[in-house]
Symmetry: C2
Subunit: 557 residues, 2 copies
């Protein structure tokens, strides 16, 4: 007779505790069969949310919710209840939550309402706005287990700094969201909590590592979430959810107080991750970044650079954008190229100049980023798993191995190569013909549309901007159409390399049913120079306004 390894009991306890934290009356009477792919309309039909709660969760972004609460047309409590209910349903359909604290959230919201009624003053710009958090953020009293059994059942003794900043701004925290085991995968699956599913289509990936955020917000179970990104982990799930997501430069948003499953101090010699927003509008991303900077986080976290929001750049009066159509490593599939081109054409039609950028160094970024990711040979993380006899998930088991630590001369060498590449890449911010400054650059988020579960292929378009530490955001453009699915790769083209070959497999009718893409959204990525988050947001707003027809034509200067 064999005994089960300890992780199994931990996972069972965690999952049943999670379920117990959903009030009975918020449980769906029956779950839809797996054949129901798009589950986004189920909350509307569930009868669990009132008409007002449906409106609260569907008709607002965080900015307008905050306004409505400030104008007393909504209470914080009503808003919190609506999102708790909808998050509860999202959990049942997409398995996107890890820690649930609805009861505390409702009590906190009532307290905010009482305080506002008594003092006439809101606590801050997020007064009453529910904010969801990636599982990595420590919230006092709750686990930050990042999908690893040995880190579970160890409630945090204090809040991460960002959590305190959000609370001081008036946010209502009510849940934490699912991640991949170890955080080092692009599908958010763990032995501890299972797999996060994409509510747009449960057959395609919800992305990762902030996959729970992407799924929850796509279900409108959250209006504003916080993720982290060290290879694409905000931008990828934002794309999967058809949402807006920004990875700031690493020194911008306080990261301290998160569980990362790595040796303390390790990020200082490698590539530091960034925390940032996932939301349903550009202005909500701006609201988040503004709240963070006005909290002067550099006074509490020494890894944050000084700089208020107004000191984080902007776009020129007559904006100039660039477009990078391919990274030279993986050729974008037809709909990805198409939506990028449509965006460029829409901008040009609106009077925004967009120039083609030649960035030969771009293709060298990914392999160097990979060298940084492997610095410690994954031993710290794998030791954590061994503690409870926990196996790697299937996807990770063929990818994550113990390796030797990098040697000091090699470490120094990859830093020198990084500086060299950073220097080379700085050239992309000038029009080589005229020397004019390019405000922001458009490029794909990924070389493929949102793929089936466990088939995300290649992160070169996202991780390169982690290596370069550029702020970068995902901007949804439009749904995939039937026409998109008919486009073919150039008939005589050959794969550039093994990554490109796998990527082509995501379009080849022999290896994929293209119809799987039908419920997904196509997105573009917008990128700005390091530590210029306001410049990025201004550029994203411009692109978004043009795409949504909010500006017909940019005024000529």
């Amino acid at each position: 007779m064999t005994t089960d390894p300890p992780w199994k009991a931990i996972a069972q306890r965690k999952q049943s505790e999670r379920l117990s934290r959903i009030p009975k009356e918020w449980l769906l009477p029956s779950l839809p069969p797996a054949s129901v792919h798009d589950v986004r309309s189920i909350p509307r039909r569930s009868g669990i949310l009132t008409a007002q709660e449906l409106a609260i969760t569907e008709d607002y972004d965080a900015t307008s919710l905050a306004s409505a609460i400030r104008a007393r047309s909504l209470t914080a409590e009503a808003v919190a209840r609506a999102f708790c209910k909808r998050a509860a349903i999202a959990q049942q359909l997409c398995n996107c939550l890890t820690e649930i604290f609805f009861t505390e959230a409702l009590a906190h919201a009532r307290e905010l309402d009482r305080e506002y009624a008594q003092t006439g003053r809101t606590r801050g710009p997020l007064h009453g706005v529910p904010v969801s958090l990636k599982d990595t953020f420590r919230v006092k009293g709750y686990d930050a287990s990042i999908g690893i059994a040995s880190l579970a059942e160890q409630p945090a003794r204090e809040n991460a700094l960002l959590v305190d900043i959000l609370l001081r701004a008036g946010a209502v925290l009510y849940c934490k969201t699912g991640v991949p085991q170890t955080l080092m995968a692009l599908d958010s699956q763990s032995n501890l909590f299972g797999r996060v599913l994409n509510p747009r289509d449960r057959r395609v990936t919800a992305g990762g590592s902030s996959g729970g955020e992407g799924a929850l917000i796509a279900m409108r179970g959250s209006v504003l979430g916080v993720g982290t990104d060290v290879g694409g982990s905000i931008r990828i799930p934002a794309m999967c959810g058809g949402l807006y997501g920004i990875k700031p430069s690493a020194q911008r948003v306080p990261f301290v107080g998160q569980e990362s499953g790595t040796r303390e101090g390790g990020s200082k010699i490698g590539l530091p991750a960034s925390a940032g927003p996932i939301a349903t509008s550009v202005r909500d991303c701006e609201l988040f970044l503004q709240v963070v900077s006005s909290a002067r986080p550099w006074e509490q976290d020494p890894s944050v650079a000084y700089g208020f929001w107004e000191e984080q750049g902007g776009v020129q009066e007559k904006p100039l954008l660039g477009v990078i159509r391919r990274d030279g490593l993986i050729e974008p599939l037809p709909p990805v190229s198409k939506v990028l081109d449509e965006t460029v054409q829409a901008l040009r039609k609106a009077g925004v100049e967009v120039i083609e950028i030649d960035a030969p160094a771009f293709k060298r970024c990914q392999s160097l980023a990979n060298k940084f990711f492997g610095i410690d040979g994954n031993n710290f993380m794998l030791d954590l798993l061994e503690k409870t006899g926990e196996p790697l998930t299937d996807w990770l088991s063929t990818r994550l191995r113990r390796g030797p630590q990098i040697s000091l001369p090699s470490l120094i060498d990859i830093h020198a190569r990084k500086t060299e590449l950073e220097t080379e890449m700085l050239k992309i911010w000038k029009d080589p013909k005229t020397g004019r400054t390019i405000d922001a650059i458009l490029c794909p988020v990924a070389p493929h549309p949102v793929p089936p579960i466990d088939r995300w292929n290649g992160v070169s378009y996202t991780s390169s901007f982690v290596l370069l530490d550029y702020p970068a955001g995902t901007l949804p453009v439009r749904d995939v159409t039937a026409a998109d699915l008919l486009a073919e790769l150039p008939p005589d083209s050959k794969p550039l390399n093994s990554w490109d070959k796998v990527n082509r497999g995501l379009w080849d009718p022999n290896t994929i049913d293209r119809d799987l893409y039908r419920n997904t959204k196509l997105s573009v990525q917008v990128v700005a120079p390091k530590l210029q988050e306001r410049r990025l947001v201004r550029a994203m707003q411009l692109v978004d306004d043009v795409l949504r027809g909010r500006v017909s034509r940019i005024a000529k200067l």
Copy 2:
């Protein structure tokens, strides 16, 4: 018969070439004997400088020189000739130069004059202002040998970025200045060029590693110099020269294109050095920093953080300063404590609030900084010396040894400890009683006055702010007086440790002739939080104004 090791011939050639670059008519007919300690007045008596040239070199700072040239009351050529002459004399008396390019400087100045006459436009805010450079900065066509024979006779193929920025702003470059062999000493002595002497008193140290700058500017052979600092190497020679010097945060001023004698990329995992100004006024330090930031260096050097001058902080309308009187490692000698207290009293008398800061973590900074300095076991540098059979200087020979490289886990560990210490030290920027923000902190530059040659003791007061990456500046207060020399340490006090014991030896009449301090100036250090250089400059200006009686009493709010 033994052959001389190659370094000897290199040193001979370098020194005779250097001499050959001084025009005959600028050579002093005879050199003063060693018994002449203070050589500052010799240029005035030499007959080499005209009355106008004496005025140019003695009556202006860089800001007023730039104004005079802009107003056409001085030509760039006249200014350049005056400073070339005076630098030539400084070299003869203090051995402070390494590379000399007077001829090119004069031609460049004439070109600037011609251009200004023709176009009516100055090239930039430094139009015609001579700027001297530490030997580390690569200037096309000249060596950057950092006092190591094997790096000599290898003229740079391009300018360091900062050199180009200065040139674009209109500066006239005319010489590079002496450093210690390897840069890792506090007296600027090398086999290649000999020892830099302090013109205030040739028996006391000129400091290092930017010792040539300090000596040259103290001789008024330069009005504005650029040094670098990774342990005190700007602030220490500034103190030795009785000058103003600022070490910015590492990400502020472009450092790229310098010779450092270390493995490319090494600074990325250790403590990066900063480049910064040494000058005769606070406003000249500001001018330098402003010129640098308005050149948008972050567009060319990826290691520079985004941020224009106006985005680098400021002081509150009603400033609040703090004072740290001791670091807990080395007790300041009586005149150092006295001048710090005088400064505090003057500020308080002028209506500026100054509160006492308790910083228990301060004493842990130095030993951690030391761990960072030893990361590569000095092997790269010592290999450079071996190439030409060059021995270490006497001072270095007992201090610089080959050691093992640090292991990766230890490297990660010291980074984790650094973050912990940085976090702890952030507390010093708030008044613990009221929570008010402290604009800047005053503390000693060193625990002793400017000591005799090769006896600088301990850099804890300077290197701690490299570890913390705080911008920090040296501000001269007043000359040492006879009364200062009579003050005694508390009679029953005991040395805190071996450093403190050595420090006491710098005051004990049995081990030092206190009269050696008579020609030196006492200084204080002013410190601001990371990346807030403008805040530092504003605070230094406030302290300076109060000390010079430029403000009688700060307006009450």
